[in-house]
Symmetry: C2
């Protein structure tokens, strides 16, 4: 019944993985005038792995970032993230603007241009004022540092409609040597990542472990599937979703991807913990969200079918509004499962809300007490378990409700 993949965000900030420094400045892109240019500098030889949005409409920085990782063979020296402008649907001009920032950063920090990793988040379809970012680079350089405050500033500068910074960190010991993982995320709307190797969600994870780029990619692919690919705020898959994982090697501890090695398992578990926590923090901060809904789907024909059913329930406006109103309208959950496309037999399906039985084999559970379930739904986090009774496929999925506040946030005419 517990949501293992989505550990509650209980992490306190440990300390920055060795080999990284952070900086955040005001480049003048956010209309609010808040810091909007967040950068991370990495020591030479830092390896990188990344996954990007599955949307066919992709932003310029996603195209450039993907190219750069390919050209550099998985090396990154500098991460340049601007908020306030997604640099998406900006055509050839958008690519040029992105490259201009990368080239200026390469000159500033003395590394090949393909070792610069760019990201953007914000409004779609507005040309990116590259000159503002280029002009801010000298200030970025002078302010780099590795304290908790530097990380906090980085995490805040990448936010858009988010209400709070999202940070997760884990320290693991290999013998006497500690290895650190630190993750930073942004995202509150347009969140239904379908990350490929398989948002505007941007996630940066830093570790001082020493990991080959190819192994790093395998670790990352394993970690995103049950975490970022199992959350949805509004069902809208973004054009800019990016998860970047950097390994500086500065701890001196080498980790290879292997199903046998204990060290590999330990590192994988720590990475999963960071991803799960950040994924939960994103949903917790869902635009206008009043409730976080933990879906546990069991007994589906396959794990893929479980995920398809979970996604269908999570994206149903009728389910989401029922949770907003603390209304135990379990028929809407059953209906959403019914149109997911996955095999299901309503006569075998049972549902529990907050641990209380509401539906048993396709009809109202015996002893279903509406008001008691309503009470349970007043909690900020509500657990929903559904057993399809078909097979052994299961998944955990995290979503939030749909409130009038979500509409207000997204219906505002952006003058």
């Amino acid at each position: 019944m517990s949501h293992k993949a989505f550990a509650p965000p209980s992490f306190s900030f440990a300390h920055t993985p060795a080999g990284f420094r952070f900086s955040a400045v005001r480049a003048g892109i956010k209309p609010s005038g808040k810091p909007d240019f967040a950068c991370a500098h990495a020591v030479e030889g830092t390896t990188a792995a990344a996954v990007f949005t599955g949307n066919r409409m992709v932003a310029a920085p996603v195209l450039v970032g993907r190219d750069h990782l390919r050209q550099s063979g998985g090396l990154v020296r500098f991460v340049a993230v601007n908020a306030g402008n997604a640099n998406c649907a900006t055509g050839e001009q958008g690519i040029e603007a992105c490259l201009a920032v990368c080239e200026a950063a390469a000159r500033q920090f003395g590394c090949p241009s393909e070792e610069i990793f760019p990201s953007s988040t914000g409004i779609i379809g507005v040309p990116l004022p590259a000159e503002k970012l280029v002009g801010a680079l000298p200030q970025v350089a002078t302010q780099l540092g590795d304290t908790a405050a530097h990380v906090q500033q980085f995490a805040e500068a990448i936010l858009t409609t988010d209400t709070r910074a999202k940070i997760a960190s884990v320290a693991i010991n290999f013998g006497d040597t500690p290895v650190h993982l630190l993750g930073v995320a942004k995202g509150a709307g347009m969140i239904a990542p379908q990350l490929l190797p398989h948002a505007t969600m941007l996630v940066y994870i830093f570790t001082d472990a020493n990991v080959l780029a190819s192994d790093l990619q395998k670790f990352l692919n394993d970690a995103i599937e049950p975490t970022f690919n199992c959350i949805s705020i509004d069902g809208d898959t973004s054009t800019n979703d990016t998860v970047l994982l950097l390994a500086s090697g500065a701890s001196g501890v080498s980790v290879a991807h292997s199903t046998q090695e204990p060290a590999s398992k330990t590192f994988a578990r720590a990475l999963l913990e960071v991803c799960g926590s950040l994924a939960r923090q994103v949903v917790e901060d869902g635009e206008g969200a009043g409730h976080v809904i933990e879906l546990a789907i069991e007994g589906a024909s396959s794990a893929d079918d479980a995920k398809r059913i979970a996604r269908s329930i999570a994206n149903s406006p009728l389910v989401k509004t029922a949770f907003a109103g603390c209304d135990p309208n379990w028929g809407r959950i059953l209906a959403a499962a019914g149109y997911s496309g996955a095999p299901m037999d309503p006569g075998r399906a049972s549902i529990w809300i907050g641990g209380l039985p509401v539906c048993q084999k396709g009809r109202a559970a015996e002893g279903f007490e509406k008001n008691k379930v309503h009470e349970a739904m007043l909690q900020r986090t509500v657990h929903v378990r559904m057993d399809l009774g078909m097979g052994h496929g299961s998944c955990e999925f995290l979503t939030c409700d749909l409130t009038a506040e979500y509409v207000r946030i997204n219906a505002e005419y952006s003058t």
Copy 2:
């Protein structure tokens, strides 16, 4: 640029197709105490065709209605519709309740039980009080009539969250003989029909043409695809969606389904007109809708891809809230098209809102004036054209915006 399939609801009530009588009474199912039991009586030999929801979770009346049509070979004498209770997720008990109503109606009107067609709409998961419907049948029988008032009462009794009755009628002449089509619909939420031969939307269409049941089914299959299957209010496909078409033959005019016959074409066109009008009326009455959005997708790789892209745009909460705020945020439209699963190349896509160019080949259109487009979006009906530049697939799709009022309607705790 015009939405041919969705003729504006300009029909005035013509007159009732011969062979049908209508009645609506208070059976005590709607908590409001309003009429909630709507019935239609048809002359002997009336043929029938129907399509039902594609949801795997189907309501008892859908199962019974489908069985009855099969058993009777496509004959219907009596249609019994209750609102206020969907008789869905009610198990074996729900089937028995539905059959009890059918058997009582068969006794009341002297016909085989399998010629009774049942429908239900309302809350899911609550047992249907069959005795209330059975008890109301004698009153139903005494009040049957064929005036415009009777049709209006039928149309009003089937409503749930709808704000108005939905009626469309067309008269066509075959030589000197008029043939009438009359359609009645309900539906305002849980609307994203994926009707199969291939909501809670309920549609009843009556004609006095003489049509074989098998031909009637072909006419219906043709008519629903570009109409009811091309609308969405909230993306939630219902468990109870039903479209029933009855032909009494009382006009004496026989029509066969044929791609050659002018009479077939005339009848098909009239049926399409009725379906298109009712489909538009359903969207016009979408829960909380402030705007109706007419999507015209062109240049897709195939007609199926065009529909997939249209559906993705229509169901995107970010697109829907942008229209609620009259915000020409065309990037959200492009992003929703990008994750539809259909092939697309953002660099070839262009978009017009209210006839004004907003996006040209993947970037802001030259001369895009945000405030001018904003003005155009203040209209109740907004036309959106998207040219994918990929091929010749096209479709018209009708949807509405997502407002705080939609959330209010659906988040209310149903005590």
